[in-house]
């Protein structure tokens, strides 16, 4: 079966906007993603290296302000929801498929390497910048937060500045 076409971007944006608005109305806070991944990483540290957990100030500070398991957090449950929601959408639109997606001029190996590198940088940057595209930029825009909108400009600005150097990853460069 052929995958169905994507939703009209404006319609999808409207839908996403109402999800965000409902979240703010109910919980007083916006959406997020990197924070949920962070909770999962913390849980891993707590389970595999409990002594290290006890002796590291960063984790102890976190535990002090958020008692209980690190998984017992809004954002962790939210990203579980994200995976479920995306899967449902994928099933409905016939897009479930185990595959690599890459630019036309690179090998799967290259794509694999840069995907990991991108993840490392994005994960690190999201912690330094106190939130990623969802938590900082999108949710920040909805409540007109200065820091959130600054981070949004920095993310997209940074990507634009570097786009030229990484064009080989994404564009058809004619075998160069």
């Amino acid at each position: 079966m052929k995958p169905k076409a994507y939703m009209n971007p404006y319609l999808a944006g409207l839908f996403l906007g109402f999800v965000l608005l409902a979240t703010i109305y109910i919980t007083g806070r916006g959406l997020g993603a990197s924070g949920g991944v962070k909770n999962a990483v913390m849980y891993g540290v707590e389970q595999t290296a409990p002594e290290h957990w006890e002796n590291t100030e960063y984790y102890q500070n976190y535990e002090e302000s958020n008692p209980g398991s690190p998984l017992n957090s809004f954002l962790f449950y939210e990203i579980i929801g994200v995976v479920i929601g995306a899967f449902i959408s994928g099933v409905i639109s016939n897009r479930i498929d185990l595959k690599f997606e890459k630019g036309p001029s690179i090998t799967s190996k290259t794509r694999f390497f840069f995907a990991i590198m991108g993840g490392v940088l994005f994960g690190f940057g999201s912690q330094l910048g106190r939130g990623c595209t969802s938590g900082s930029a999108l949710s920040g825009m909805a409540i007109m937060s200065f820091g959130g909108i600054i981070t949004m400009f920095a993310i997209f600005g940074g990507a634009y500045m570097l786009a030229y150097f990484f064009r080989g990853l994404w564009l058809n460069t004619g075998g160069k």
Partner: protein, 398 residues
């Protein structure tokens, strides 16, 4: 009044809410095409501006909704979580994320979506982000100085520009609409094709684009719930038909001496002049009298609220505002606090041939003074002013 957490929804049930809104979030992202890295980075090479369209439409929709709900008094904007601004980490973190975006083709939210529909590169990206996050947490002391540098506080963009939130909303919406138009032209140019949007579709797009502008415009022009309530109180006070129960100085002194526990005495003057008040009084400055924080105080049926202050008009308005907010029987003192103190603390002794009534009043005031000073001494150690503070919701990604 929203937000519903934590007053109406418990933190535990909040996790169920998290799962549900997460499903909506993931569904929206995947439907928009954010599970495809090539579609995402199209933004940076100009062949696909879907990200910009979805992102801005969502942001403008939510922002307009927040402004409208706040205006109608349905959402307390003072309670919303606003990410604090640490300028250096916001910019440097953002730039690093930008580098991650162009190299990896995802951001954390979209990588989860893409992994959910089976994209192996997204799974690699998630693996990388686990490493990146772990590295930050483990090496935190190294990055802490930059992490906490240039703290500007909980700050909104319109405060920085020193304009109203509505004007900022209008500007951002116009920028977004302009970007939609320009990028759709640019997209066609770069892809060497021409998308013919049918004329009626053009009308629909334009009409929808105007909706947020209209809504924000209405928010801008019409009085907010708070302004409306204040205007109503002004009108009722001016018409002279407010008919609030009043007390005079001696009645109040008598009630305080004998039944102080039946009343809340509320001083509506500024906190600076509050040090010289009437014993047992709490301070709620007139500007804050209609804050949500006091609804419980006004609505409780156990004690009557007595409003006191400097000017008769302000006290009357405070009483009316309390009544609008749910106080069934507010009482106002018909004299100023200063008059009360003069009359009770330094009563003038009547002449020996004064009428008996005057002598009774003098005797009463003298006794009341002793009792009130005793009450004042006993309450001295209480924290003043007793204040309920509305806290912002906890949030954010860290």
């Amino acid at each position: 009044m929203a937000p519903l957490v934590p007053e109406f929804i418990s933190p535990e049930f909040n996790l169920v809410i998290a799962l549900i809104v997460g499903i909506g979030f993931g569904y929206a992202l995947e439907q928009a095409g954010f599970s495809s890295s090539r579609k995402l980075v199209g933004l940076f090479y100009g062949y696909d501006f879907t990200v910009l369209k979805v992102f801005f439409t969502a942001g403008i929709t939510a922002m307009t909704g927040v402004l409208v709900l706040g205006h109608l008094g349905l959402l307390n904007l003072e309670m919303l979580y606003i990410n604090p601004t640490f300028l250096y980490s916001a910019i440097i973190g953002g730039l690093i994320m930008g580098a991650g975006f162009i190299m990896g083709g995802f951001c954390p939210g979209t990588s989860l979506c893409a992994a959910a529909v089976g994209r192996l590169d997204a799974m690699a990206f998630i693996g990388g982000s686990v490493v990146g996050i772990l590295f930050f947490m483990e090496a935190f002391p190294l990055f802490e100085p930059i992490f906490v540098a240039e703290y500007l506080g909980v700050l909104t963009f319109y405060e920085v520009l020193n304009i109203s939130p509505e004007l900022f909303g209008v500007i951002l919406t116009i920028v977004a609409l302009g970007a939609f138009y320009a990028t759709s032209k640019l997209e066609d140019h770069i892809n060497n094709k021409k998308t013919d949007v049918p004329k009626n579709r053009k009308w629909v797009y334009s009409a929808i684009g105007v909706v947020p502008l209209l809504l924000i415009g209405l928010v801008w022009l019409t009085p907010s719930k708070k302004e409306y309530v204040r205007n109503l109180a002004d009108r009722q006070a001016a018409s002279g038909e407010a008919q609030l129960e009043t007390m005079d100085i001696d009645e109040l002194a008598f009630e305080l001496v004998n039944h102080a526990h039946e009343y809340n005495l509320i001083d509506v003057r500024d906190t600076s002049s509050f040090s010289e008040s009437i014993p047992t009084a709490i301070n709620i400055p007139f500007d804050e009298i209609d804050s949500e924080a006091w609804t419980d105080l006004y609505k409780q049926p156990y004690k009557k609220n007595i409003f006191i202050g400097d000017s008769e008009e302000t006290v009357l308005k405070a009483g009316i505002l309390a009544r609008i907010m749910g106080d069934e029987d507010p009482i106002i003192l018909d004299s100023s606090v200063i008059d009360f103190r003069d009359a009770i603390y330094t009563p003038t002794e009547p002449a020996p041939d004064a009428p008996k009534h005057d002598k009774d009043v003098y005797r009463f005031r003298n006794n009341a003074r002793i009792d009130l000073i005793r009450i004042e001494e006993r309450l001295k150690n209480l924290q003043q002013p007793v204040k309920k503070v509305i806290k912002r919701v906890e949030g954010g990604c860290t």
